[in-house]
Amino acid sequence: MKERHSYIPHTPEEIKSMLETIGVPSIEELFSDVPKVFDFELALPKGSDEFSVYREMKSLAERNTNLEQLAVFRGGGIYHHYIPFVVQALASRSEFLTAYTPYQAEVSQGTLQALYEFQTMIVELTGMEVANSSMYDGATAVAEAALMAVRTNRKDKIIVAKNVHPEYREVIRTYCSGQNIKVEEVNFDKNSGNIDLETLKSKLTDDVSGVIVGYPNFFGVIEDLKIIRELLPEKVMFIVVANPIALSLLEAPGKLGADIVVGEGQPLGNPPNFGGPGFGFFATLEKYIRKMPGRIIGETKDTEGRTGYVMVLQTREQHIRRSKATSNICSNHAHNAVTAAIYMSVMGKEGLREVAEQSFAKAHSLKERLLKLEGVTEVFSGPFFHEFVISFNKDVEFINSELMKHKILGPLNLEKWYPEMKSCALFCTTEAVRNADIEFLLGRLEEIL
């Protein structure tokens, strides 16, 4: 037993007096119901102090190369955007950070209102009617959307475009495996990079509950949601995985016939965090609200008629409905969602549009200039947002390792997930890529190619 610890307040005298109140002679006695057979010695290093721990962790952090040290042309699901400094300053306030799920609404109006506003913003971005207050990430959000489609339509097949993020597709399969839901993939058109409409049509059998496409898809190509929706039987749920930044520029999926819109919310003011935590967003139509997974915040009145906020429709959730719940989700990513709400508040509609436009413009300018280089070939002709695929006449790994020598995080090598896409690379630009970075990249590529 350690006698003093900065996180544990008890003095020996207090421990003694507490044991007396309880009526046991020692702390050990409080564990007398634990069979002695379990005795063991914990083989851990001894405790430390905060300065040593800080130094140790900092030295681990410094063994990584962070994005501030690089020119970043890599996306693929996590994006390097500028985050106004006010975002962290507010999100890190301890009343946000150290609060629990808002079960006691009267002392949680901060959380509840912030999440209510977050839901509103997601509804605005997606053009849908309702949104929940967050999922773990984009992948689990779309997997839950697949389950929701099956729950709603009671048919056991889900169709996923093969140009949806490869990791998302893996997660969909994992989630669906539990309930023996079939997941079928639809290949993409080799020219445009869009989902292949003919194949899609051919797979739309009676047993399909939902269809999942990207907007833009993993290749950055913008799917024509209108045309796809028109192909789908009315009952088939149309699930769109969207990039929230792109939604300032692209028509809202809600206006193009989507039933569920999900995605990774990280680009909205959350740092990349090596992939997590970001958050998943989840929006759908009002008529499906009781089928939706996750926590939902709603507006109401207090006994004096003042507006306040509470968790609503909890009967969908695991703590009430248990094995019949719409999902098992309990902890979500509320803090990341509130961070996103702060980001969207400070950027505003114009700021978010500006981010989208700069990202878009830089990507299009970069692609055009890349295609002028020897050894670079266009791969897809479809319209794209801020990511695009080209192919090199050299190995992508080689090119990237050369670029890294110049502190450039080059494009994603697509061969890893699409073995047929030899030497294909996925470039990404955001507003945080400077024009000078682009010039520098082009200069280095000229040398390498």
Binding site: M1, K2, Y7, I8, H10, I27, L30, F31, F38, K46, M57, K58, L60, R63, N66, L67, L90, E95, A99, Y100, V107, S108, G110, Y116, T120, V123, V130, Y136, Y168, V171, S177, G178, Q179, D224, L249, E251, P271, P272, N273, G275, I289, R295, T300, D302, G308, V310, M311, L313, Q318, R321, N328, I329, C330, S331, I342, K349, E357, F360, A361, S365
Partner: protein, 483 residues
């Protein structure tokens, strides 16, 4: 007032580097029907508006940094500031998941070390840090169970046994993994009834999900027997780690016979709850289930740390990338800080605090089950109804007026009018005594005037809210007044 009502068209709070956009117009590249006509209705505010809005919202919140938060099964312990500082280091927060492996060796070492430490603390053989939360860990565990029996060819194992005192996530997760949930009644002492278990255990049972100590704060003393029964039946034993804070350094789930365990870094390992998340729910398994873990797992080779994906029976990927890395960093810092002695001491004091509070409170409200508890305990609030004419909810709401957060109420479901109290080790004796005084005062108030208590709270930013209407006619987004 919402942020939308504070918005004025044309106000801005952002700045961005002015970079030439190269005369590229989206309309030249994107079909018109795919271009947004009307910008999303996001608020338009200056920076100071945003600062004041969210600062004001924080001041309407109660949090661990404001006071005692004895939510049973939630382990609302102190969240060290050190850990926030560390997680915010650019070398952690500004890492892209697809950077070359040699550029993120520090991050992978963080993960590997935490995997190893958690294995030691729980007595398991391998860990994945992928799951984003406790329930996500449960789902992962249940999918492992499912895959395990698939590989073994025991497809008849379609059921999972869950005690009636279990967290709601247990049955929900089992169900989500495609299992049929069999709930078994606890015995009069609040623990697993071995006869009920025996009766339920047949060859259709894939797994038993338990937490130990259980949600009543009672140690399942028959755990050795239970594990034997399970394993004899070919059934896997799953450990819900929500209550690990009671037993760190004292006893290990692995030693008790559990095959799979999930932990909650945001409970036991002091990472903050963040209004409901992000959490992190690592899953540990015994050796025979190692190859079933979700991919990727971090491994150490002669060339350094790697992300391993070639597990022979992996259930697949359970989320994108590598889990909630930012949370993982904080948990590692916490374990390094406390070390062997500190972790054990944390559990000891958590149990001391719970027993002290139990002893003192039981003079006012009877405990649901007698005797020692571990890190939490449950009071039976029926006395409140009978003797004071108030419900547990009323007691809870009145506590808010005294500036303390109420315990978990109406859970576990097997106790009527339950109050489930977990003080954690970071609360000092004065806070516990104060809590007892508050309960005493409220009971005195109720004796005099139950209506007064029933109308509480009075001093909160808002009074009791109409939750029924809120769910009947859900208004889940702000809509401009004009519409």
């Amino acid at each position: 007032m919402t942020i939308f009502e504070k918005s004025v068209t044309g106000r801005t709070g952002y700045t961005l580097p002015e970079e030439k956009k190269d005369e590229i117009r989206p309309s030249d590249y994107i079909p018109e029907h795919l271009l947004r006509k009307e910008l999303p209705g996001l608020p338009e505010c200056s920076e100071i508006d945003v600062v004041r809005h969210y600062t004001e919202l924080t001041r309407k919140n109660y949090s661990v940094d404001n006071g005692f938060y004895p939510l049973g099964s939630c382990t609302m312990k102190y969240n060290p500031k050190l850990n926030e500082k560390i997680a915010a280091l650019e070398g952690f927060s500004l890492l892209h998941p697809y950077e070359p492996i040699e550029k993120v060796q520090g991050a992978l070492e963080v993960m590997y070390r935490l995997q190893t430490l958690l294995s030691e603390i729980t007595g398991m053989d391998a860990f994945t840090l992928q799951p984003a939360a406790g329930a996500h860990g449960e789902l992962t565990g249940m999918l492992i169970v499912k895959k395990y029996f698939e590989v073994k060819g025991e497809n008849q194992r379609t059921k999972v046994i869950v005690p009636d005192s279990a967290h709601g996530t247990n049955p929900a997760s089992a169900s989500m993994a495609g299992f049929q949930v069999v709930e078994i009644k606890s015995n009069d002492n609040g623990i697993i009834d071995l006869d009920n278990l025996e009766a339920a255990l047949d060859e259709s049972v894939a797994a038993i999900m338990l937490t130990n100590p259980n949600t009543l704060g009672l140690f399942e003393k028959d755990i050795i027997k239970i594990a034997e029964m399970a394993h004899k039946n070919g059934t896997l034993l799953y450990y819900d780690g929500a209550n690990l804070n009671a037993i760190m350094g004292k006893v290990r789930p692995g030693d008790m016979g559990f095959d799979i365990v999930h932990l909650n870094l945001h409970k036991t390992f002091s990472t903050p709850h963040g209004m409901g998340g992000p959490g992190s729910g690592p899953v540990g398994v015994k050796g025979h289930l190692k190859e079933f873990l979700p991919i990727p797992v971090v491994d150490l080779t002669d060339e350094g740390y790697i992300l391993k994906t070639d597990l022979s029976h992996s259930i697949g990927r359970i989320r994108s990338f590598y889990g909630n890395f930012g949370v993982v960093v904080k948990a590692l810092a916490y374990i390094l800080m406390l070390g062997k002695d500190g972790l054990t001491y944390a559990s000891e004091i958590a149990v001391l605090n719970a027993n002290y509070l139990r002893t003192r409170l039981s003079e006012l409200i009877p405990t649901a089950y007698p005797g020692l508890c571990k890190h939490e305990f449950v009071l039976d609030g029926t006395k409140l109804v009978k003797e004071y004419g108030i419900k547990t909810l009323d007691l809870a709401k009145r506590m808010l007026d005294y500036g303390v957060h109420p315990p978990t109420i109406y859970f576990p479901l097997i106790v009527h009018e339950a109050l489930m109290i977990e003080p954690t080790e970071t609360e000092n004796k004065d806070n516990l005594d104060h809590f007892v005084e508050v309960v005493k005062k409220i009971l005195e108030e109720a004796k005099k005037d139950p209506e007064f208590v029933k109308n509480a709270p009075y001093n909160t930013p808002i009074k009791r809210l109409d939750e029924v209407t809120a769910s009947r006619k859900p208004k889940v987004r702000w809509i401009p007044k004009e519409q």
